[in-house]
């Protein structure tokens, strides 16, 4: 993936560039808003990572201008602010996802990988297939090796989200945001409990597990 990072904190930026490089991504870096906007509108990127507070030009205004130019590159907004409606203003400006500092790198990586995939075609699939597990979005039926699996509505949505991003790491926060539409941090391991229930319905009695726990990051479904 080709990523543009617009971030004024040099140390955070160099760490991020190195970590993204280790994860196999090419990252360009701009340390102020004007340069960042010029680079973003002049070159093709898979994902933009934009800090909200930047010298010379505010992060939100960069996103707004890009969207006004009909630039559809996915944008992840980073912010150290804790404002109640920060997320809303960030997304309203045209951002695709929002991450509050400080964040775990695994969280950021999982999110930009999902974002980059989102912009590629094949979005409107009516069914998902992972190994011998099949999920039909229209009839809302789930089968594994031809055997029907009964799921609660929320479990169905959980599995649907995981299968939509099959082969990608999804974090607990991403699941909480996308399946429950909650944007906060629970103290307890509430997602893990739901995942272990889902896992017992999907993987129990099958030789190859599909649902994997990625240590320190989240979950992934793959064959």
């Amino acid at each position: 993936m080709k990523i543009l990072l617009i971030e004024d904190d040099r140390e955070a930026a160099s760490y991020l560039i190195q970590a993204l490089d280790e994860a196999g991504h090419v990252t360009h870096h701009a340390s102020d808003g004007e340069t960042g906007f010029a680079m973003a509108s002049g070159m093709e990127y898979d994902v933009l990572i934009v800090d909200r507070m930047l010298p010379r030009r505010d992060g939100l205004s960069i996103v707004e201008s890009l969207r006004a130019e009909d630039n559809r590159t996915p944008v992840l907004i980073l912010s150290a602010l804790g404002e109640v409606d920060d997320r809303v203003t960030g997304l309203r400006a045209g951002g695709d996802d929002y991450l509050a500092k400080p964040y775990a790198f695994t969280e950021l990586l999982a999110r930009i990988e999902v974002l980059a995939r989102r912009s590629s075609p094949g979005e409107a699939a009516t069914s998902y297939q992972v190994g011998d597990l099949n999920l039909d979005r229209l009839s809302r039926k789930v089968e594994r090796a031809g055997e029907a699996i009964l799921l609660q509505p929320r479990e169905f949505r959980l599995l649907e989200y995981l299968m939509k991003h099959a082969g990608q790491v999804v974090t607990r926060t991403m699941l909480l945001e996308n399946v429950w539409d909650y944007h906060f941090d629970p103290q307890t391991n509430v997602i893990d409990v739901h995942m272990s229930r889902l896992r017992s319905k999907i993987d129990k009695g099958h030789a190859t597990p599909l649902l994997h726990t990625i240590r320190g990051a989240g979950y992934m479904i793959r064959d």
Binding site: Y15, Q18, A100, A104, F105, P186
Partner: protein, 467 residues
């Protein structure tokens, strides 16, 4: 009608009414005194002139004889005015004068008396005489030749004078009452209008628009002085709020950045495959600790934000029933794993204007607390009940458990920041959960309280129906 009621309730109108009352009472007293005193003065004056004329006529009688007396009385009688004259003999025969029907009692004894009589008036345009009713105060004198001399004054005119005073009084007082009522009403309306602008401004400010100011007119009256000092106070408050926001923003930025770096470095070190298992454990613990620090920090910031108020645009229509049912569903499996049950009785489609994120966070905090404490229940299996109830004008969200409960004298204290009861010190947590719930309730113009659930705790978020 209500606006008249509103005007009546203003202090200006009440003061005006009080002043009118005082003024009327004082005017009545003053005018009564004036009428009384002037009546006395006129009476004294009239008595004096009666005595003077009687004396003159007696001297005429003594020195010049009856003929001159009759002539004098006739001449005096012919003069227009309030004078009353009568000269008659012992048999009641009138010799001269202008009152023919002199009552007997006035003639039978000397001294003062008074009576009503018919007074022959001036010739009118038709040539007939216009008689007027009169009331006289007279002095009867027995002359040494046996004649009766009566000299008096018509006092109807004195009464007329009183009537003039009384009429003037009525006109004056009536006019003053009407005019001051109008003036008072107008002043009250003006005052009310000024006060209303101040009220409107403070309502807007309370709903989160801190940049509103009370309008100041160029009249520079007492309201403008009040408005100016209110505005100065608002400037100061806005400045302080802005300062607080800046401080929290800066603290957020300046403390979160090094925290991010610390976490990043630990993560980077963890990615190094050559690390020892013990080192990895230490690094993972470092990350977990920093996450807990971040969480505490975020909770503090969130409380500060909620306490500072939110722009009205942040509120949206929220299906509270669905939100509560969602939380119950999210935590159902967690409770089940801990050997408890969550029951939700969230009603159907109860809606409020709210910030969804914050209501959700508050609910989650309460449910997590309940899960933490209900499982230590001695009274059978843990049970958590979520309820949404509607009362007139209010919506109540209840989260109840059957755990050990909180002693009554400590219920208020646990809502304070970082307060944790002795027995819960061993549990994980920051001591900010309930503070956040209270701040969220206040942000939504509601209250938060803890009640006894016999056994256990019932946490109640009490919100107004419409915000």
């Amino acid at each position: 009608m209500t606006s008249i009621g509103r005007i009546w309730r203003t202090s200006t109108v009440r003061l005006t009414a009080l002043f009118i009352l005082i003024f009327v009472v004082f005017s009545i007293a003053l005018l009564a005194y004036m009428a009384w005193q002037s009546s006395l003065a006129i009476q004294r004056q009239q008595t004096a002139s009666i005595q003077r004329e009687t004396a003159i006529l007696m001297r005429v009688n003594d020195q010049q004889g009856i003929r001159a007396l009759i002539y004098s009385v006739q001449r005096l009688s012919a003069r227009p005015g309030p004078g009353i004259y009568y000269l008659g003999d012992q048999l009641g025969q009138m010799l001269a004068g202008n009152v023919s029907d002199m009552p007997a009692h006035a003639l039978q004894q000397s001294g003062y008396s008074s009576f009503s009589y018919t007074r022959p008036g001036a010739l009118d345009s038709n040539g007939s005489e216009e008689n007027t009713e009169g009331f006289a105060l007279v002095q009867t004198t027995f002359l040494n030749n046996g004649l009766r001399l009566v000299v008096g004054r018509d006092i109807i005119e004195r009464r007329g004078y009183s009537a003039i005073i009384f009429g003037g009084f009525l006109f004056g007082v009536g006019g003053i009452i009407v005019l001051s009522a109008i003036a008072g009403g107008l002043t009250a309306m003006r005052v009310l209008r000024r006060i209303d602008t101040i009220t409107a401004t403070s309502t807007k400010i309370m709903s989160g628009n801190l940049s509103e100011r009370v309008p100041v007119t160029p009249r520079d009256d007492e309201f403008d002085r009040l408005a100016t000092s209110l505005n100065a106070m608002l400037d100061r408050i806005e400045q302080l709020m802005k300062g607080l926001k800046e401080v929290t923003d800066n603290v957020a930025h300046d403390l979160k950045t090094p925290l991010t770096r610390m976490r990043n470095k630990a993560e980077a070190a963890l990615r190094d495959e050559s690390a020892h298992e013990s080192q990895r454990t230490a690094l993972e613990a470092t990350i977990a600790e920093s996450d807990q620090l971040i969480r505490t920090f975020n909770a503090l910031l969130m409380i500060a934000r909620a306490e500072a108020g939110a722009p009205s645009g942040a509120f949206s229509d929220l299906d509270l029933s669905a939100a509560v049912a969602d939380v119950a569903e999210l935590y159902g499996p967690v409770a089940e794993d801990a050997g408890m049950a969550i029951e939700a009785d969230a009603g159907e489609g109860i809606r409020i204007s709210a910030i969804r994120e914050l209501i959700g966070q508050a609910l989650v905090n309460l449910v997590e607390n309940a899960i933490k404490y209900a499982q230590r229940s001695a009274s059978g299996p843990g049970r958590i009940t979520l309820k949404v109830r509607e009362e007139t004008g209010r919506v109540l969200i209840e989260v109840a458990d059957n755990g050990p409960g909180i002693p009554e004298d400590e219920r208020a204290r646990v809502v304070e920041r970082f307060v944790r009861l002795e027995k819960s010190r061993t549990e994980p947590g920051s001591g900010l959960g309930l503070s956040l719930v209270a701040a969220v309730a206040h942000l939504h113009r509601g209250t938060f309280r803890l009640e006894d659930n016999h056994p256990g705790v019932r946490a109640i978020i009490d919100l107004p129906r419409s915000i």
